[in-house]
């Protein structure tokens, strides 16, 4: 290939901003490269960029806003329900000590609007779950670095369900990033077309919980003593009406309790910092890793928006980064799952012990890596087995919790498991009984009839 061809068209800037400001962006916007699609049209791209509305959210928000603003996006919306905490200041660089207690979304939006002229940033000081489909439909793309798996699942299922095959505009690419210490990952999702966050859920297996009996009778680790103070001692003694993880007085109470417990069993290693870490489930976070992952996400957003180069998504769609031992990255294609509870339509097989009660079965769903459902509602082909809400239905279905699975469904029956707190996550399981089961009614009938035939 010869020299890049010059084509006209620049990012339009508001009146007082000279075009020279975007010299470097225009280098790549006006000159297609060797990997740029041959149909690339710089004028059309400039038009598209000036009309794009993007949504950002989550703990990587500061980085994301800065990066999107300096990528030439003009209309950015940001959702964050959190207020600024002093422990954010080591990485969330738009916040100062004097901002502690204020809304993250509002402070961040104001700062970036002031620093980068010509960009409009609209903050929402609330949860992503507070908005409906109509709200999400107005954006062309969503870039987020949310800090909980629940929030990720919710936005993912919302964007997947937004897709209307008749309306290509309804497909909103979702770009997601997350970090932990020196490690992180970024991924690009084209809802319904490529592997979604729910397809990838087993990449983030939940940490195994310590059994309650270990906490109660045979603690061995400092963490066991802290969990004992947190789960058992607090409930017994109720030193304050409600546990507030951010109240140093409450953490100190737990710390002292844990220390006493540790002394009793000759366990060492309980510290204030560990207590806080265990109780709040603190994940180490640093500015540099956030910078890497947020910039990776925004680089993909820029490529998708401008077509200046191929983006992650259709082929490779996931980048893992680790900086602990040298720099190791792995960029690969995560395959879409046909039995995904959000973007697939096949039921997946699930082996289940029919003698479990429905309650025990529900609890087992919480620890399954591909499910991780804490408050699911369940229905069979024939009837509703258990509903978490509304309260009237919960009360009506609660008696089923004590019944055995085999008494509620038949071997091979399909059940639907959903969790409204995660959006439209809808698991379809085809239950396979792990052992023979005689239902309570049949057992009674057999007894009465004196033969072994079943209906």
């Amino acid at each position: 290939m010869s020299q890049p061809i010059m084509v006209s068209g620049t990012i339009s800037a508001a009146m007082p901003i000279p075009a020279k400001r975007w010299t470097y962006l225009n280098n790549v916007l006006q000159n297609p490269g060797p990997f740029t699609n041959p149909d690339y049209d710089a004028n059309e791209v400039a038009d598209r960029m000036s009309n794009m509305k993007l949504l950002g959210a989550g703990g990587l928000g500061c980085e994301i806003l800065k990066n999107l603003a300096l990528s030439g996006f003009k209309d950015i919306h940001v959702i964050d329900m959190d207020t600024i905490d002093v422990s954010n200041l080591n990485r969330q660089f738009l916040f100062r000590h004097s901002d502690v207690g204020k809304s993250k979304a509002e402070v961040a939006a104001k700062f970036v609007e002031k620093r980068v002229k010509g960009v409009k940033i609209t903050p929402y000081n609330c949860k992503i779950q507070d908005f409906d489909d109509a709200f999400y439909l107005q954006f062309q793309m969503v870039v987020c670095g949310l800090d909980s798996i629940e929030a990720r699942r919710w936005i993912n299922s919302t964007l997947v369900n937004l897709v209307d095959m008749e309306n290509p505009e309804s497909l909103k690419p979702l770009i997601d990033g997350g970090t932990e210490g020196f490690k992180g990952q970024s991924r690009v999702i084209f809802p319904t077309l490529t592997s979604c966050i729910e397809c990838q859920l087993d990449m983030h297996a939940p940490r195994a919980a310590v059994p309650l009996c270990t906490l109660a009778t045979i603690p061995r680790q400092p963490e066991h003593c802290i969990e004992w103070a947190h789960i058992i001692a607090w409930e017994q003694e109720k030193p304050f009406p409600k546990l507030d993880n951010d109240d140093p007085e409450h953490i100190t109470w737990l710390y002292k309790k844990a220390l006493g417990r540790a002394a009793e069993f000759n366990i060492t290693g309980v510290t204030y910092s560990l207590t806080q870490g265990v109780v709040k489930n603190i994940i180490p976070a640093i500015a540099s890793t956030n910078a890497i992952i947020a910039a990776s996400c925004c680089n993909e957003a820029f490529k998708i928006a401008t077509s200046t180069n191929p983006s992650l998504g259709p082929e490779d769609n996931y980048m893992m980064y680790s900086g602990n031992d040298s720099i190791y990255t792995y960029t690969f294609k995560h395959e879409k799952k046909p039995d995904c509870p959000v973007c697939g339509n096949l039921a997946r097989d699930l082996e289940v012990d029919p003698t479990l009660t429905l309650d025990e079965f529900i609890q087992s769903l919480a620890v399954r890596p591909e499910a991780q459902l804490k408050k699911p509602s369940i229905r069979s082909e024939a009837k509703t087995l258990y509903m978490q809400s509304p309260e009237s239905l919960r009360l009506k279905t609660a008696p089923n919790l004590e019944k055995k699975v085999g008494d509620l469904v038949v071997d091979g029956e399909e059940i639907g498991v959903s969790d409204p707190s995660l959006g439209s996550v809808d698991f379809k399981y085809k239950l396979k009984f792990s052992k023979l089961f005689t239902t309570a009614t049949n057992a009674a009938a057999e007894k009465a009839n004196g033969n072994g035939t079943t209906a």
Binding site: Y24, Y272, M319, G323
Partner: protein, 531 residues
């Protein structure tokens, strides 16, 4: 009468300090020692060109509280700067870029000092290297003149200071770290799953006796006791049995699989769960923990290395030599002494922990003795020796790098190797080499606005066939397209990576790269090469 009892062994029950609160999320990664090292550091950035990647790096160092930073930059802020550099605003137009960036970076953290250079037009950046200021690390970005680059590298060599060169243009970047000398790291933070060292095949007397006391008459134990024998004791018990019947410990995969079945068969099934958790844990631990001691290639490298005169007087090499003697004598490294969590009664587990800790202390004492007998080993901190013993299996030695850019001969060898690998890519499914990106970017080090044929001509000086390699031509086209300008995202990402490396080097924790990292923002891949 009230009695005031103060027990000095009780920890002080106060909450964290303000600094601990602010830095909580990072202290969990590098602890107070790492933080102190950061706060003692002074970094110099020699900035140029579109000027963003170095400033983004500094942002990620100012936030965690680096002691001091200085920006040397002769440029005045222009319109194009405001479109790529976040730490400038419209009030900065026409003013010195160094001063403006320092001012806006310092806002991020009042604990950090910032300085800039030159203060006036008569000053030349070269004055910074007369040796009056002791920098901890030097960082420079491109474009840069060869003479200045050599001056920086010279300073690094003379004062034993690492130098990092960073180049970001368009969708590509790379950075290269020159460590002035061999760089050993003790606190490498291996994954916790990798560190288990239980010595099941070479148990010492106290451990064997303790295990035997728990497994002596297993059949007669109550369900509760049987289900709470720690898996270490279970494995030692069944290993001893196995050795008696087979003559040796299970060593091949096949033998270990058979051994697994033997252990599994020992579990009682008349429990409410139909199994026993401690036996499950024992079975799961066999492949990883039942193995003869072996040392990693990096420990072997450390043992085989002969330190030069200056190095041999450093505490690291004196301790390393003592560890080597220990290894020769015992055919094992000092015991780290930690025991993973396992199902057990609290008292039994704590006893087991103490047996491992006692053995670890004994090993430390032996190494300490060797160190103290060294003519220069009198004053070495015993905590350093202890930490070395604990981390011995994961010590890492990174060799120093040549100060200047790699020699043409090395480039040739690397290019051959990388392109040879690429020719097998369809079969091996290994991603294509990013070396062409390095070649194309570094061809524009002094002239950022080079066009494709300039770039190819420069590469041809070392690789005459460059013009016929499609991958090099594509990379050159992509570099030429950027015309020397940075894209903010690529520089932000690269600044994040460089900052991670700076932190790893300054804290001497975790493992830095050796020595060049190339980033491709098109395929979202990175590659580390020693260039």
């Amino acid at each position: 009468m009230t009695e005031v009892i103060t027990d000095p062994t009780l920890p002080i029950l106060h909450g964290p300090s303000d600094k601990e609160k602010k830095y909580d999320r990072q202290l969990r990664l590098w602890a107070a020692s790492g933080q102190q090292a950061l706060e003692d550091a002074h970094i110099l950035l020699v900035n140029s060109g579109s000027g963003t990647v170095g400033v983004e790096t500094l942002k990620n160092l100012v936030l965690p509280g680096i002691g001091k930073f200085t920006i040397a930059d002769e440029n005045m802020v222009d319109q194009a700067d405001l479109g790529v550099n976040f730490f400038l605003d419209e009030d900065c137009l026409g003013k010195p870029r160094s001063e403006c960036c320092v001012r806006l970076l310092q806002e991020l953290n009042p604990d950090v000092k910032g300085d800039w250079f030159p203060k006036n037009k008569d000053e030349a950046i070269e004055q910074l290297f007369d040796g009056t200021i002791k920098f901890t690390m030097l960082l420079y970005t491109t474009p840069i003149a060869r003479t200045r680059m050599e001056l920086l590298q010279e300073y690094g060599q003379k004062h034993s200071v690492p130098v990092i060169a960073v180049h970001s243009a368009g969708f590509y970047s790379y950075f290269r770290i020159s460590l002035p000398a061999n760089f050993p790291i003790v606190d490498t933070h291996p994954d916790s799953t990798a560190t288990t060292d239980l010595r099941l095949l070479t148990p010492w007397e106290e451990l064997s006796n303790f295990a035997a006391s728990l497994t002596g008459n297993m059949e007669s134990l109550s369900a509760h006791e049987h289900g709470h024998i720690p898996y270490v004791a279970l494995l030692l018990h069944y290993l001893a049995e196995w050795k008696q019947t087979h003559g040796s410990f299970p060593s091949t995969y096949k033998e270990k699989t058979a051994f697994r079945s033997t252990v599994a068969a020992g579990a009682r099934t008349d429990t409410p769960e139909g199994e026993e958790e401690n036996f499950d844990e024992a079975v799961a631990a066999i492949l990883k923990t039942v193995s003869s001691p072996s040392i990693s290639s990096s420990v072997r490298e450390m043992f085989n290395y002969t330190p030069n005169e200056m190095e041999s007087t450093s505490s690291f090499w004196i301790i390393a030599d003592a560890i080597k003697q220990f290894y020769k004598k015992h055919n094992a490294l000092p015991l780290p002494g930690s025991v993973p969590d396992m199902k057990a009664q609290s008292t039994v587990y704590v006893q087991l922990q103490n047996i491992y800790k006692a053995k670890a202390r004994q090993d430390v004492a032996e190494v300490l003795g060797t160190v103290r007998s060294h003519p220069m080993g009198k004053n070495i901190d015993s905590a350093e020796i202890e930490s070395f013993c604990k981390n011995a299996a994961f010590i890492k030695l990174i060799r120093g790098s040549e100060p200047s850019e790699a020699s043409p001969a090395n480039i040739k060898v690397l290019a051959e190797r990388e392109f040879e690998n690429d020719s097998h890519a369809p079969l091996t499914a290994i991603p294509l080499s990013l070396f062409p990106i390095y070649l194309s970017l570094s061809a524009t080090t002094s002239l950022p606005t080079s066009n494709v044929s300039d770039i190819i001509d420069t590469i041809k000086n070392t690789l005459p066939d460059a013009a016929s390699t499609p991958r090099i031509i594509e990379a050159a086209e992509e570099v030429a397209r950027a015309n020397g300008g940075e894209l903010h995202n690529i520089s932000a990402l690269t600044g994040g990576m460089v900052a991670q490396e700076v932190i790893k080097i300054i804290t001497r924790q975790y493992i830095p790269i050796d020595n060049t990292c190339i980033f491709d923002g098109i395929t979202s891949r990175m590659q580390v090469l020693r260039i």
